[in-house]
């Protein structure tokens, strides 16, 4: 875990200096840009990354599936559908809070529908995974149906929203999101020992004194709620929760101590770095951060998978 920690802390140092990049052209506007735009945006990226990375690491262990993501419980698909429903059915409601509210409601309805299954004894974790995939596809179909019937401007806004963006966040969002983000992180760290026992199978975990049904119910609810909050503010940001836990695992193979905690922290660093690049890589234009996370994460992960593990 030392390599992960050094890499993450190094990135944090770089990020701490980042709000002052390229400000020499506009000395008058500098304090406003730094303190009102860039700092809250950086903080939000760190917090959203924290939730996505932690939840991704936990869900992959819980589902014992390397493809599980924070969206496996239908959270993102529900949020996208909810946001689009607001844009299409109530186009007059231009307020950003209406959009966030629609996204949050959709995320909660779908993910809680899926996670409710987890409470049943005798229900396999793969059933829950399958229900998550099925509901995600179903919500996706409804989303496309809505798009087909909607006018161009609503569809355009919905597509833009679904790319994920940190460009509109302010201190109010940061304040509102800090508590849930830290709670998700701390609670999941507390459960990491029980989660490690689950790696050898649910029966093995039962044998050493873990209640797998209670554990998965709790972690699925907490993770889905945290991700629903994040998605409501920034839109869905793909790839962070999938890729970062795998990167951490590859850098510290077989190690579980600190895995959850560092997956969250390094995902925060990763997302903030991706957002920084998304703003500066094209002169005068900003890329959606989700494009950047996939553009960095995908080749990096492929390279690590292809490299023989020591």
């Amino acid at each position: 875990m030392t390599r992960v920690a050094l890499l993450t802390l190094g990135t944090f140092l770089l990020l701490a200096a980042s709000p002052w990049i390229g400000l020499t052209d506009h000395p008058d506007a500098a304090p406003f840009i730094v303190w009102q735009l860039r700092v809250p945006r950086l903080l939000m990226a760190l917090l959203v990354g924290l939730v996505l990375g932690t939840t991704g690491a936990v869900f992959q262990a819980l589902f014992r599936n390397p493809l599980a993501t924070p969206s496996t419980t239908g959270t993102t698909a529900g949020a996208t559908l909810g946001a689009l429903a607001v844009l299409v059915l109530a186009p007059g409601l231009a307020h950003p809070l209406a959009l966030a509210g629609g996204a949050f409601s959709g995320a909660i309805v779908l993910s809680l529908g899926v996670t409710a299954l987890a409470m049943a004894h005798g229900r396999s974790i793969h059933d829950i995974l399958l229900a998550g995939v099925a509901l995600t596809l179903g919500a996706g179909a409804l989303t496309m149906g809505l798009q087909a019937t909607a006018d161009m401007s609503a569809t355009f806004r919905a597509v833009q929203w679904s790319l994920g963006s940190l460009s509109t966040v302010g201190y109010r969002d940061v304040l509102w999101f800090t508590l849930p983000a830290l709670l998700v992180w701390l609670l999941m760290i507390r459960r990491s020992r029980a989660l490690d026992a689950l790696l050898l199978g649910e029966a093995q975990a039962h044998g050493v004194g873990v209640d797998p049904v209670k554990l998965r119910t709790e972690l699925l609810w907490v993770g889905s709620l945290g991700v629903a909050c994040a998605v409501a503010i920034t839109g869905p940001i793909a790839f962070v929760g999938l890729v970062v836990p795998h990167l951490v695992r590859r850098l510290a193979p077989g190690r579980r101590k600190g895995f959850i905690a560092w997956s969250g922290l390094s995902a925060g660093a990763f997302l903030a770095l991706a957002d920084l690049l998304a703003r500066h890589v094209l002169p005068g234009r900003e890329l959606p951060v989700g494009v950047m996370t996939a553009a960095i994460g995908a080749p990096f992960l492929v390279a690590l998978v292809l490299r023989k593990t020591p």
Partner: protein
């Protein structure tokens, strides 16, 4: 069962041995009857309380995730809230007992079947429960390793651990027992979900019961090193 017993569940595939063991460990709820652990219904115990009395090695272990041996050992200490030094000491002792001390930094997935099974036995030991339940602990192992697994388990049993064991190899079990062990070991024959019989390992009619159970001809030969069981097609 009483403390210090060794109960061996035998029977053809599908007889209900693993289901019975799952119910005995509280993993599944029985449709009828109840399982009492030191007088309390097993379902009423907290998971960690149960794990303090009962350690279980199920038939299958998931090894899809890369996991170091020492981290796998740590997971079996879940019921304890001990300091790093205490945990370290318990893990070292259990690995030494299983002869696996030099493997502690290795990835579980890189171990051979025999080595991995020894680690699972060490995990049972590090949990420090007085009752062990093992579902086919010597399956898929070479003949020498099978005997080593039984030697480790029976040493543990002779030192006072109560055990329930599922096996498809009663011949190997009998060959692993010393003559003084025989009257203290109980064999239970299961058929179609029911317990058909329970006999001590030195019962004179054990051969006929085993033959009946597997629908094969069974002979028990008395040798200087103890009884030896042979199973073959009826002539």
């Amino acid at each position: 069962m009483d403390e210090g017993d060794l109960l061996v569940l035998l029977g053809p595939n599908g007889a209900g041995k693993s289901s019975l063991m799952s119910a005995l460990t509280g993993w599944i709820r029985p449709d009828e009857g109840q399982v009492l652990l030191s007088g309390s219904p097993i379902g009423s115990l907290k998971a960690t309380e149960r794990a303090a009395s009962l350690a279980w090695l199920p038939q299958h272990t998931d090894t899809s995730e890369s996991l170091r041996v020492d981290e796998a050992m740590r997971t079996a200490r879940f019921r304890f809230s001990d300091t790093a030094a205490q945990e370290e000491q318990a893990i070292t002792e259990a690995l030494r007992w299983a002869g696996m001390l030099e493997f502690r930094q290795r990835d579980l997935r890189t171990l051979s079947g025999g080595e991995a099974q020894r680690i699972h036995l060490a995990r049972l030991a590090v949990q420090q429960a007085p009752l062990w339940m093992l579902d086919e602990p010597a399956n898929h192992l070479d003949p020498r390793t099978q005997r080593e697994v039984y030697r480790l388990l029976l040493d543990r049993w002779r030192a006072g651990t109560t055990m329930v064991l599922i096996t498809h190899d009663p011949a190997l079990l009998l060959a692993s027992l010393a003559p003084p062990d025989l009257p203290r070991v109980h064999l239970a024959g299961m058929k179609e979900g029911r317990m058909a019989w329970i006999l001590p390992a030195d019962a004179p009619d054990l051969a006929s019961h085993l033959g009946d159970l597997y629908q094969l001809q069974a002979h028990i030969l008395q040798t200087p090193r103890g009884p030896r069981l042979q199973l073959e097609w009826p002539s």
